[in-house]
């Protein structure tokens, strides 16, 4: 994005390159389909000017074949681009399993990022180059939208729900990161930088920043201080679902359906325990909606996910 008038944004990921190819190819098709309209209007306006002699014989006022063809052909050509674009879009919605997980909380007019290693950042996000990164995002108030132009990715951040966004930035550099869903007074100020760093630079950055507990560790502390361990802990006597090995496993619900225990299910069970009650358990869990904010819920979710690897003991 250099030069006196910037004309094309930087591309910092393979996906960005593919979107650029799609846009350029589609523009070529569009110019091909519409150049005749612009040219012919001018040509006809000159050649068939009122009062000017011209060969106006054989005027045809309808031709079903011609009209059907210039309706169908552009449609079919565009369908090819529809499939190409849909393929890229579906690819955006399927994060790789080994992606690095970063939790994001959007709050009126700032972005809060939480790295699994415990680092916390406001508005700026440091990520390693060449590794897929998956952002799990939620909002504490209104709808925001995380947009990184250099990666050609954008995803709205909704209150009361997790939305995800993943990217694999391969070119180190500092790229703008913005909020693109109008969220109130300082919507224009809710931007920051996505700093993509080469492997060792990122490691040095990680070491340099104050290495507090990892996200899961803070989650465990919260798990104990809020009293969750009283029911869900190993030595608990209360009949409550065991959380070891829960993450990613299908959970049978009381109304007979089953749901996989993803971040969304764990979050909902913390904030609205009665929404989807596990089968065979009484709905006695209190809501923690006013006790924890979204950032702390993400820490609890990180802790429960860290329990996924331990074997589940038989429930008492």
């Amino acid at each position: 994005m250099n030069g006196f008038i910037p004309l094309w944004p930087d591309a910092a990921s393979a996906h960005a390159g593919q979107v650029d190819q799609l846009v350029i190819a589609f523009t070529v098709l569009m110019v091909a389909l519409t150049a005749p309209v612009f040219v012919l209007i001018v040509v006809f306006a000159v050649r068939y000017r009122r009062g000017k002699a011209a060969n106006r014989t054989h005027r045809v006022n309808r031709s079903v074949w011609l009209e059907t063809s210039w309706a169908a052909i552009p449609f079919l050509l565009t369908l090819f681009f529809f499939v190409w674009a849909a393929w890229l879009y579906f690819d955006l919605h399927r994060p790789p399993a080994d992606a690095m997980e970063i939790d994001v909380v959007a709050k009126r007019w700032m972005w809060k990022f939480q790295h699994p290693e415990g680092q916390r950042e406001i508005d700026d996000l440091h990520v390693p180059a060449g590794r897929p990164v998956k952002l799990t995002m939620t909002s504490e108030d209104v709808i925001h939208s995380l947009f990184v132009p250099a990666l050609r990715v954008k995803q709205d951040v909704l209150p009361g729900r997790y939305t995800t966004l993943w990217f694999d930035a391969d070119r180190p550099g500092s790229y703008p990161l913005e909020c693109t869903q109008f969220c109130g007074t300082d919507h224009s100020l809710m931007h920051g930088r996505l700093v993509v760093m080469a492997g060792q630079d990122y490691a040095r950055w990680l070491a340099g920043t104050q290495g507090g507990d990892t996200l899961a560790a803070e989650g465990r502390a919260l798990f104990r201080s809020l009293g969750c361990s009283g029911c869900h802990g190993p030595g608990a006597t209360v009949h409550a679902p065991k959380l070891e090995g829960l993450y990613g496993r299908p959970v049978p619900l009381q109304d007979g359906s089953t749901v996989t225990a993803d971040e969304q299910y764990i979050r909902d069970s913390i904030l609205e325990p009665n929404s989807r009650i596990a089968a065979g358990y009484p709905p006695i869990m209190p809501t923690f909606r006013n006790l924890v904010d979204e950032g702390e819920v993400q820490q609890l979710v990180a802790y429960i996910k860290s329990l996924a690897t331990q074997p589940a003991e038989p429930t008492p």
Binding site: Q254, D255, E272, N274, S275
Partner: protein, 208 residues
């Protein structure tokens, strides 16, 4: 049957004007279908996202009072239809009687509805207006809010309907010979408000 109506600008022939008036009324009722349609769409969305909460909240509503109200409104529709038939048979006195029955039944519906609202208010079924002692489950509060919004909008339409019928009755009392068409149009509106309740009743009360 010759259309008994007051001819007005651009129309020269009564049957032509009658057809236009009926078409205009049905197009207007089409817009009302889309207005209440928005609320039914919200109900469908809530039903898909929170099935058990919907069932739990709906079962807390007074099914029988709703049922009686539906019967009252259906009967008022009958009375309205009789009024329309009477006006087409040129029997204004019978029509006035039927219209007063329609108004009475309409007011009865509103009265029962107000009674029900009082009951709901006391039972904490209106979380937005009177937060109950022990807080209702959020998803149930969602349904109860929708119940309040939908029945309030319907009650507003019913009140407008009652106003229209009273205005119509006063016109028939003064000059009965030209009011057949106006009676039929008011009847169409009244029957539409009844149809809205025919759908609102199962959507709100019978979610079992």
């Amino acid at each position: 049957m010759a259309e008994r109506l007051k001819l007005r600008e651009p129309f020269a022939d009564p049957a032509h004007q009658a057809a236009a008036d009926r078409m205009g009324m049905f197009v207007f009722l089409g817009t009302e279908v889309m207005l209440f349609g928005g609320i039914l769409a919200v109900a469908l969305a809530d039903r898909i996202r929170h099935p058990e909460a919907m069932i739990a909240a709906s079962s807390r509503l007074d099914l029988w009072l709703g049922g009686i109200n539906t019967a009252v409104l259906l009967t008022s529709s009958l009375a309205m239809a009789i009024a329309v038939a009477a006006m087409h048979q040129d029997r204004p006195r019978v029509a006035l009687g039927a219209l007063s029955a329609t108004v009475a039944l309409g007011l009865a519906f509103l009265g029962l509805k107000a009674l029900e609202y009082g009951q709901d208010y006391a039972d904490g079924l209106m979380p937005a207006l009177a937060p109950p002692a022990e807080p209702t489950d959020p998803a149930q509060a969602l349904f109860l809010n929708l119940y309040l919004a939908a029945t309030a909008l319907h009650a507003v339409h019913l009140t407008i309907g009652i106003g229209l019928v009273l205005w119509l009755a006063s016109r028939i009392a003064r000059r009965p010979e030209e009011q057949a068409m106006t009676t039929e149009l008011t009847g169409l509106y009244w029957h539409f408000v009844d149809i809205v309740w025919v759908f609102l009743y199962p959507v709100l009360y019978l979610v079992r």
